[in-house]
Amino acid sequence: MQEEKKNQINISDILYKIKGAILNFIIPLVSILVTFVLVVFYIIPSYKDLPLKKEELDRKTKTKNILSTKVADLNRLVDFQDMLDENLEVVNKVLVPEPEVPRLLDQATQIAERSGMSLDKLSYSYSSKGTSGGGFDMITVSMGVKANYEQLVLFMELVEKAARYVSIPVFRYSVSSKTDEEGNLSSTFSMDSPYLFVQSAAVTDDPINLDITSSEFIDFMEMLKGLDYYDFINPNIEAVEEEPVEEEPVELEQPAEPVAEPVEEPLVEPVLPEVSDENTETPVEEDNLFLNQ
């Protein structure tokens, strides 16, 4: 009986020890091991990965939004395809894709005729950059004309209203030497007309900035449509092609000492001195002094 009791005590003692070992050793050990594994192999990588994934999501969401907007824009452009084609045609008439020299010469001639000028000289040359700015290829047309001042102004206005874009960077005029043409001016122009060939590629992920329904675009197109379009009526205009020359600035007189302030009250008109020579040069300084007295 005593033996049996002793055995029972031993068993319960062993069970107690096992329980103690499980509670105090195995569970904490397993817990710490699992925690360690979770921290090292999941939590830390996830902690690093999550911001990157969110960033990627943001980026992709932005791309998706851009593409969605682009799809909407393209669908709108499909709806307005006729308008788009028409506008492209107008724009190609204003900024031509090819030099089209005969057409340009014809336009220049028609403008000169319309403003009542008589054309003396017409030549052209190719240049890679015009003085009107930008990196456009240019046709430079040189014109020599005879006209009066009003015709000159009218010519300028017509040039500014002409559909094919032309700019006049430099011009000069002088009174005609012919005495029978009183008031007529002999004038020379250099007219730059740019041309630009564009061939775009479809870039799927890039947005389209063109909004053909915006008021700014519509106003600009209306302005272009309001320009004067010249029919190509004389393709056989004779004009000399000149070699492209390095652009040299027209030599202007260098300014002398500037007249600082305008004189409000002019002096009494001076009596011109009688001089025996036909031309008497008056020194500039003296005149300035005189004018500013």
Binding site: G133, G134, L154, V170, P262, D287
Partner: protein, 193 residues
Amino acid sequence: MLNDINLIPQTEVVEQKKTQVLKSSSIFSVILLIVSIGVSAYYFINLTDVNSKIKQTDADIEMSRGQIRSMSEIEVSARNLDKKISALKTLFNGRSKYSLLLKEMEARKPADVTIQNSDIKVGQISISGTSGSYISVQSYVNNFLNKDFEGGNPELKDMFVDVSLNSVSLDKGSNSVKFLIVVSYQDGKLQGL
């Protein structure tokens, strides 16, 4: 005084402390495990959510790209138009309206001044001519610099910034004054009008 007497043997006290430390360390490790499981679950849910959103977004992007590719022709036309419009805006905004300059020059010219030659380039005009008197030449110069000049284009009232009288000479034959002036002007004032 009786309260201060501890009858528990020292070995038993040490044993009890050991047991307490073991117990609290077990509890601590289990709490640590629960916390780490919680944090892991948080990251798992978030990552799964973000990954599924990325997949969905990828699918949307591919669909949009497909639609865009099917409209590539119109895209090319739109891009061509956009480029040309931009170029034209640059050109038109940078073009000087010399018709206005000529009108302004004529408006500011006194009646008895006759222009013989004029060279016009960006920012500078060289004018030579004749006048009935010195006063007219002076008046012409003053008119250029007069910001309150009446009769000209109000938008161009302060266009001319400087006038230099380079020479004045008397032509005895015609009893007139020959002059040469160089006028500086702000070319930008003639642009975008």
